[in-house]
């Protein structure tokens, strides 16, 4: 159903220009990874606090509030560097199962982070519920990374 859209995306002059340059695509990929480090750090610091294994002298809410701007910056940076990669590769990525796993996982991760995890991050102490949320968050975002890397390796 989305194939015509993906083909259209791939055919755009901008997408063709990205594909026509030998260095734009690799550099965008590399910068995507730098933003990934920022995003992962902001996610992990809060998740480890939710799990109750680090920074225990600070409240969960304090750690979460400190991490938020970097979490948003990291995510936006990855969207901005992810879309050009998709544009250049759209017709091929449409057929990659890993690409779709990654998209579903991001959708779930976003909803989870903005609802359940956000709610739990307002607490003070690590509780059994917050531990579960921290664990789910690490597993979901970790799976996004794994599937993302597999797109390039097995497509």
């Amino acid at each position: 159903m989305l194939l015509p859209f993906f083909n259209w995306l791939n055919g755009l002059p901008v997408s063709q220009a990205i594909g026509g340059s030998i260095w734009i695509y690799p550099l965008v990929q590399a910068i995507h990874l730098v933003f990934l480090a920022l995003f992962a750090g902001a996610i992990l610091m809060v998740d480890l606090r939710l799990l109750g294994v680090t920074l225990r002298s600070q409240s969960v809410a304090q750690v979460a509030r400190d991490a938020r701007p970097w979490l948003i910056a990291g995510f936006l940076g990855m969207v901005c560097t992810g879309i050009p990669q998709l544009m250049q590769n759209a017709s091929r990525e449409y057929y990659s199962e890993y690409f779709w796993y990654k998209m579903y996982l991001i959708a779930f991760g976003l909803i989870f982070t903005l609802t359940v995890r956000r709610k739990v991050s307002q607490g003070t102490e690590s509780t059994p519920a917050s531990k579960l949320v921290g664990l789910v968050s690490i597993l979901v975002w970790g799976s996004v990374v794994v599937n993302a890397r597999l797109i390039g390796l097995f497509t």
């Binding site: 690799p26 480090a37 750690v63």
Partner: protein
């Protein structure tokens, strides 16, 4: 090739002829999955290093004293470093001659050494005065310098690592 590089070349070549190196190189799945694990370990290591660097710069995680951030994140950073080292060394072990001729690989190695020196310099010089600025609104110049250098250098490490497959400058 310059003569002083011969021992290095011979070492890489010797490793590339080892049966275990050949076995990993010829397997279809080991290297791809090592690459995936290397990226996951990078997230743990670089992610938590950046979180500490932002605190050093005085722009992030300011609600927590610096020594607290440093001490609590350290074991997790070391976990990430251990995982990255094991996966990275195995990848290099599996195909040494591919990396030997790669400018991005050597850039990455060099900048990693520099980042290590920066971390040591911070630890043995600036960190000695941590009690004076642990919870202060501003961090001292030395701390900001180390934090900025660390972010820039680890970003260069990530970028050059990602560029290794693109061998634009290889002529052999």
């Amino acid at each position: 090739m310059a003569d002083f590089l011969m021992p290095l070349h011979d070492l890489f070549f010797w490793v590339s002829e080892m049966p275990s190196s050949i076995a990993i190189r010829e397997s279809l799945y080991v290297s791809p999955y090592l690459t995936v694990s290397h990226v996951v370990s990078m997230c743990i290591f670089a992610g938590l290093i950046v979180m500490m660097d932002l605190r050093l710069l005085g722009v992030g995680n300011m609600r927590t004293p610096f020594s607290e951030v440093q001490r609590r994140l350290f074991p997790w950073q070391m976990l990430g470093m251990g995982m990255s080292s094991v996966t990275g060394l195995t990848l290099a072990f599996a195909d040494p001659m591919r990396f030997y001729v790669n400018i991005f690989f050597w850039t990455k190695m060099l900048v990693m050494v520099l980042a290590g020196i920066n971390a040591m310099a911070f630890h043995f010089i600036t960190y000695n005065s941590v009690v004076k600025w642990d919870s202060a609104a501003n961090t001292p110049f030395g701390a900001r310098l180390s934090g900025a250098l660390s972010i820039v250098m680890w970003a260069v490490v990530i970028v050059s690592g990602r560029l290794i497959p693109y061998n634009w400058f290889q002529n052999s």
